[in-house]
Symmetry: C2
């Protein structure tokens, strides 16, 4: 079917004035004024809808059209007419309106406004609303901006595995993956599970990070990134945690922590610039209806250098405000969201990198600093969210890495492939992880992770 | 560290002639001729390596450099000198060679040639070889080409969920996802598993397709695509099956089977064109060392229209050659790879769409044709592979869809969200699935799916 998209009509309006076109879309509203009526049609390609004027003297099926319900699918043919001075810049004067699929009065999106909580219960229909049209188009654009950023810089995109035989960085609880019958789990003589009968002949889990696998590719391609789903079986029912989410994990070789931060800052600015340029209507909507200061904040980020502070300095600053925190800070403590937000919102008033954390609160693979106490780690904190990126330079000395693994009681045999990278042509390298959904929340101002994931998975919730 | 990439040196060679640059990379070979020597250095950014000439009268550490082993990481600084007439167009005359990370004689990639089977056992090191540098760079480029193709056309990228509470299209066996302790599965009084104690309070699996979820978004955004991991717990140990693989599933509304095929053909041609343009060195390598006819075949595809044949016609053609097949064909049978390849390689000699299959061998959601016997399905077959794409127009009539679900004994309550799409503003729509790894195999000529996935997961195999 030769259809014109509403996006084309808006983006190339000059060329369509006076032209006859056909558009397929869904009715957002229908107002009948006896001899003529207005259909507002959204076809999903553009945030703004098309206004269609239909007249009794032109349509044989006028009375039927006047009764079309909200949500119906229609195919409308007519002439695009400029309407200077009116609310919308142009409208379609219909020659023909065909109902492709009706929509009854039990349609759950009848009313104009619904709460986000209610809309979560109809995750299959909510993308038809203004807010979720905007959220999920912007989500798509952010994903593409990330690919474009890395591909323009010749990074190799690596699909690290989802099903894994090891706990990798020991981060959080994991989901087990199995083909064993849970009603009748096969057992060995000693009562343990007989994994030789499982699909992979051993216990397997869903990955919590592609980093260690990603490092193996960085030591071959120099610059790589991953972009894939990640899982946490954490029983935390918050607005920022989901059991299934997407992560971006770049890894760069012949690079140190400073290179890593330069990359992270360029990437975030690139994404912001891309979205402001490609989704101005959606971003204005968020700024007006979801988060009033959004555009000012994002533009401020574009125009400022990110702050830098060491963990030790940050603790000194925060200790002076300990009376304002639920959790008091002290050197050696992990930063909570309240501390992170204080630093980025109150102290720096822009995104800030906190670097050089105590080794005890960071992962085993991070490079030990010369002080022997801290590691070359960085977290990037942004206003409204807190930590959005966590990264580090990696320990590239075989000796120091093995020493650290021994201290932590890690089984070196499980990490043979990872140690090989330090045995065979080791090179300084660094990387970070960006939580994709946090990034979408940051750019849209949406406050709940459930509202930036098409079909969110959280504890006790796996619908559709 | 300010490094120049080998890719820059090759792609912008004119500008580097006579310039002093620093490159970090890994030694592919080292040849010492007493007073001068040659290091071949690959930095992973480009298929061709950089030749570095080092001389005893310029380097204090000449004797150390002469001993550098294959696989070592080095940082070399020197002047780029054009070498017209030589095998390589330019070389670096080194002022300084620093060993960043040594590599011992036990390095598993010492020898020049290793079998693919052997290299699979060192999946963390194989991307350092020519073949796998080429495979995984091209894999990355294909992924990006796919995103670019859809984004240029304003399709919305949708992340459909990986963990699912339903079997969706009933395609193949699934992996179960659980946080229950398999050593001690909690049971109800009647002996069944007590899923109220599982993470999602019900049994959950890894998805076999994002299509049904994707359709819900197509009915909001008109044109969408998914690109994510998919899982099959099938016990099939072939060169074309993996337990974890990536799929692309576009879905287009106000569209029929013909639109679907036009989209599929444009997409495949776009990908081929993109890869030929962006990875000419890699594609020449495949053509010379992996699959001799590759470039001719791909160029032929670019320059021909795909064939079209109905299933019924295809069966007539194939029946005449039944003596050549292991499995004899007859109307109503499913096509095997041998039949598919015969059609595309022998009969059409180019990619071909087979359409309108018997409804019995296709999924419940495919649109019933007017004959009442066949459905508006299409498979795209390509030489060397067989089926690479499978798609269909979807049944958009609530009545016919429910009728078909009843015939097949499907529980309509499990598909409430899917039926809602037909209740509320139903529109004709269509889509297809492209197996990403099959696409990579097709474009590289690689014969085993294990060799186009960074860390392949197959039955009894989940290493690294």
């Amino acid at each position: 079917m030769e259809l014109t998209s509403v996006r084309q009509l808006f983006r190339e309006k000059e060329q369509f004035a006076g032209q006859k076109v056909t558009v397929g879309g869904w009715v957002r509203s229908n107002r009948d004024s006896k001899n003529f009526g207005f259909l507002v049609v959204n076809d999903g390609t553009f945030f703004e809808p098309l206004q269609v004027v239909y007249a009794a003297d032109k349509l044989d099926n006028y009375t039927d059209i006047a009764k079309i319900g909200v949500g119906a699918a229609v195919i409308v043919t007519g002439t695009i007419v400029e309407t200077p001075g009116a609310k919308q810049l142009f409208e379609m004067q219909a020659d023909e309106v065909v109902v492709e699929g009706a929509c009854g009065p039990d349609y759950p999106l009848q009313k104009k406004r619904h709460s986000f909580e209610y809309l979560r219960t109809i995750a299959h229909l909510r993308p038809r609303t203004n807010t979720f049209q905007a959220v999920f188009r912007v989500r798509s654009l952010i994903a593409y901006a990330i690919h474009q950023f890395f591909q323009e810089r010749d990074f190799v995109y690596v699909h690290t595995p989802l099903i894994t035989g090891s706990d990798c960085e020991g981060a959080g609880e994991m989901f087990q993956v199995t083909t064993l019958d849970l009603n009748n789990v096969p057992k060995n003589e000693d009562g343990t599970v007989d994994y030789t009968q499982d699909f992979f002949c051993k216990p397997t889990n869903l990955t919590v990070s592609g980093q260690l696998n990603g490092e193996t590719y960085a030591m071959a391609f120099k610059n790589i990134y991953t972009f894939g789903p990640t899982f946490r079986a954490e029983n935390s029912n918050t607005t920022r945690h989901a059991a299934e989410f997407w992560m971006i994990e770049p890894e760069i070789a012949f690079a140190d922590l400073k290179d890593d931060m330069v990359l992270a800052e360029s990437m975030l600015k690139y994404i912001i610039r891309y979205v402001l340029e490609h989704a101005p209507e959606e971003m204005n909507f968020f700024n007006s209806f979801v988060d009033k200061g959004l555009l000012e904040r994002l533009n401020h980020v574009l125009n400022s250098d990110f702050g830098h502070v060491t963990y030790t300095e940050a603790i000194k600053i925060l200790e002076e405000h300990n009376d304002e925190f639920d959790y008091k800070v002290y050197w050696g403590c992990d930063l909570q969201t309240e501390h992170e937000r204080y630093l980025t919102e109150k102290v720096f008033k822009r995104p800030v990198f906190v670097t050089d954390y105590p080794k005890e609160i960071k992962a085993f693979y991070m490079k030990l600093n010369e002080d022997g106490k801290t590691v070359a780690a960085m977290d990037c904190l942004v206003p409204g969210i807190g930590e959005i990126i966590g990264g580090s330079q990696r320990e590239d000395s075989l000796e120091l890495l093995e020493q650290r693994m021994d201290e932590l009681g890690l089984n070196k045999e499980d990490y043979g492939f990872y140690l090989d990278l330090r045995k065979y042509g080791s090179a300084s390298h660094a990387g970070f992880g960006l939580g994709f959904e946090r990034c979408v929340m940051y750019l849209t101002g949406m406050g709940n992770i459930r509202d930036v994931i098409p079909f969110p998975r959280t504890v006790k919730n796996c619908e559709l």
